[in-house]
Amino acid sequence: MSADVEFELRDLRVKNGAKQILQGVDLTLRRGETHALMGPNGSGKSTLANVIMGHPDYEVTGGDILFHGQSLLGLAPEERAKLGVFLAFQYPVAVPGVSVARFLKAAVEAVRGKSSGGAGGFLKGVREQMKFLEITEAFLDRGLNEGFSGGEKKRLEILQMLLLKPALGVLDETDSGLDIDALRIVAAGVNRLRGPDLTLLVITHYERLLKLIEPDHLHVLMNGRIAFSGGPDAVKQLELHGYDWIRDQVGAEVV
């Protein structure tokens, strides 16, 4: 594993409206590593994911987000996307009337530039990835996330990741809403991209995903701070004892 730092959060503090959600988050991801991020509901995981992508509703009140040593703060979401940051949303929104095909083409062209193979080449690539993710071609003509089931939305998120080939992928509960087979397929999709060129932050509540996408490190976010960082085996303790285990470990300080 390379020792280059790919992505770093330094004492990141974030507010949404009047509420201070992140109170100083530190994280370091080296190139090609996969980190799992867990934590109770409402602890700020999605906030963290959204802030990394540049959601305009969140105010960064302190600290920094560094990608290849460059601060992402001040960059628009589209600029971050073009640098290679990708967020698979916990709740992807629908954009009625915009076909999946049209959207994918616009996204791929925006991030990767016009494909040399023309429209035909582009569609061929899309079809191949769709086949892998077992998404039927009929989805290409449907409105983006319009009437999609929870699981279908998640598959489409991963399809986008496979097409956009990001350097940093943040997966926000991609496993929630997936049936057993879909979970395996989606994980295989993610693993397709894994390698030295993809650094991953995988947000999840469950061990099952981490069995399929094996992380190098595990972090637990509680009350807006990283309350625990350790090896991937810690997930077993968490499954057994719940977050009280962490609370016991770190004492009353974060509770």
Binding site: A76, A81, F89, A106, A110, L144
Partner: protein
């Protein structure tokens, strides 16, 4: 004296149709009176019945007052300050060839007016100020008995047909602007599709206003005989000037038994500058009459221009089982005011109508949908479905909907759905996280919002309409 607006502003640069053609014109004096009406009729070499028709309309107009019930603010119009006829003086060339200056103009506008260069799939009638300057593909159409020519020519050459149908859908007494148009209309298109004929190509008219202080009053009449079909497209642009020019048109459609007329418009008149200076007043009466059983009329409009739009393409559903449709996108920016919608008048049994209206407001603009669905006592089992959606972009614009439903037959079914939304931050963020900038993301969302309407347009026209919408959005967003 009116001037061209300076080209420094982004909107004006985007309005690439805002140029003026330098061509000598045969123009009559400013103002309006009976002599002017007679003069117009004489210029066009019209028969006496037409002159009398015009004069009757003019006299009726004098008894009417300019309507101001629409959601649009503008000072009273000085009808004596406008010019009612201006025709380009074409330099004599080969017979059947257009003056090169005019040809260049239409080329710049992207309108195929040359027979040789003509797109195979479309016939064009090009109207420049008060006259039609070219009509293409006529020979090809004639072989099938289709008449497609300027209104002036139709009055001279097909007097009986014109006399039978002119004013039969929109009578001169219909409203203030209809009366005015009936008195002074100068040109427009006439289409006649004989029984059982499916018009093999799109028919289209392109209206261009060029002359200063001149109104354009055109009149289009389409008659579809039993079991015939025609698809018709209308486009329009004007120079960017600091004066308001009046465009008061009438379109009449007649569909006989089993006939179908599809009428599509992309309206891109000059809309005025960012402060609301200049722009076209687009006061138009468009109405179709489903006269025969099983006939079908559909209006599709993409309204992206004009300082003020006052327009309600309507269908009178008289024939049993006839169908009326109205699909509309109205986009307003800066200080534009659009008050548009439709009327569906159900007279015959089992008549059906569909209304889909999409309003998008940006800047300081006002966008109003005004619709009426009227079900008369004999219209048993009539049905209407209305879908009326408004999207607001920014916080200074407004959207209003005034849907009126009047059902006088208990077996009728009417459904009405309406939504008003702001462009969603979550949608924008989602698309931006995929690399689209704010403009591109907005354009995509708006495109999706209008999709139901855009899919009703003929293919190539839809592509143009989307480009136009994107261009307009680009300057309105951010």
């Amino acid at each position: 004296m009116a001037h061209e607006l300076p080209g420094g502003n982004k909107l004006l640069q985007d309005y690439k149709f805002g140029f003026v053609t330098d061509i000598a014109a045969d123009a009559i004096p400013l103002g309006l009176n009976e002599d002017i009406v007679r003069l117009i009729s004489a210029k066009k070499g019209e028969p006496g019945w037409m002159t009398d028709w015009r004069l009757a309309a003019y006299r009726h107009w004098l008894t009417l007052r300019e309507p101001h019930w629409a959601r649009a603010d503008y000072p009273p119009i000085d009808y004596q300050a406008s010019r009612y006829y201006s025709a380009p003086r074409q330099r004599a060339g080969k017979p059947g060839e257009m003056d090169p200056e005019l040809a260049k103009t239409f080329e710049r506008l992207g309108v195929p007016v040359h027979e040789r260069g003509a797109l195979a799939g479309v016939a064009v009638d090009a109207v420049f100020d008060s006259v039609s300057v070219a009509t293409t593909q006529r020979e090809r159409l004639k072989q099938q008995g289709i008449i497609f020519c300027s209104m002036s020519e139709a009055i001279r050459e097909h007097g009986d047909l014109v006399r039978q149908y002119l004013g039969s859908v929109v009578p001169p007494t219909d409203n203030f602007f209809a009366a005015l148009n009936s008195a002074v209309f100068t040109d427009g298109s006439f289409c006649f599709i004989p029984r059982g004929v499916r018009c093999p190509i799109e028919l289209s008219t392109y209206f261009r206003i060029n002359a200063i202080s001149t109104g354009q009053f055109e009149r289009t009449l389409i008659v579809a005989e039993p079991e015939s079909f025609v698809s018709y497209i209308e486009g329009c642009t004007a120079p960017a000037r600091d004066e308001n020019q009046l465009h008061a048109a009438i379109v009449e459609l007649v569909a006989l038994e089993g006939a179908q007329i599809k009428y599509a418009t992309v309206q891109n008149w000059f809309a005025g500058d960012a402060g609301g200076k200049g722009g076209i007043y687009n006061f138009v009466t468009k109405r179709g009459h489903c006269r025969g059983a099983r006939s079908r009329i559909s209006w599709t409009q993409v309204e992206v221009g004009a300082a003020i739009t006052w327009k309600y393409p309507s269908v009178i559903l008289e024939g049993a089982d006839s169908v009326g449709e109205f699909y509309s996108v109205a986009f307003t920016h800066d200080r534009m005011q659009a008050d548009t919608g439709t009327k569906m008048i159900h007279i015959g049994p089992r008549t059906r109508s569909t209304i889909v209206s999409k309003g998008i407001s940006t800047g300081h603009s006002a966008n109003t949908y005004r619709g009426m669905v009227k079900i008369l006592p004999k219209a048993a089992h009539a049905r209407n479905h209305t879908q009326c959606d408004s999207m607001l972009i920014g916080s200074q614009c407004s959207a209003n909907t005034f849907p009126l439903i009047e059902a006088r037959n208990a077996t009728a079914i009417t459904e009405h759905e309406a939504t008003t939304s702001r462009i969603s931050e979550e949608q924008l963020f989602y698309l931006r996280s995929r690399g689209l900038d704010e403009e591109a993301a907005t354009a995509l969302i708006v495109h999706g919002f209008c999709k139901e309407v855009l899919k009703e347009l003929p293919m190539e026209f839809a592509v143009e309409a989307v480009k136009l919408l994107e261009l307009k959005l680009e300057h309105s967003v951010g």
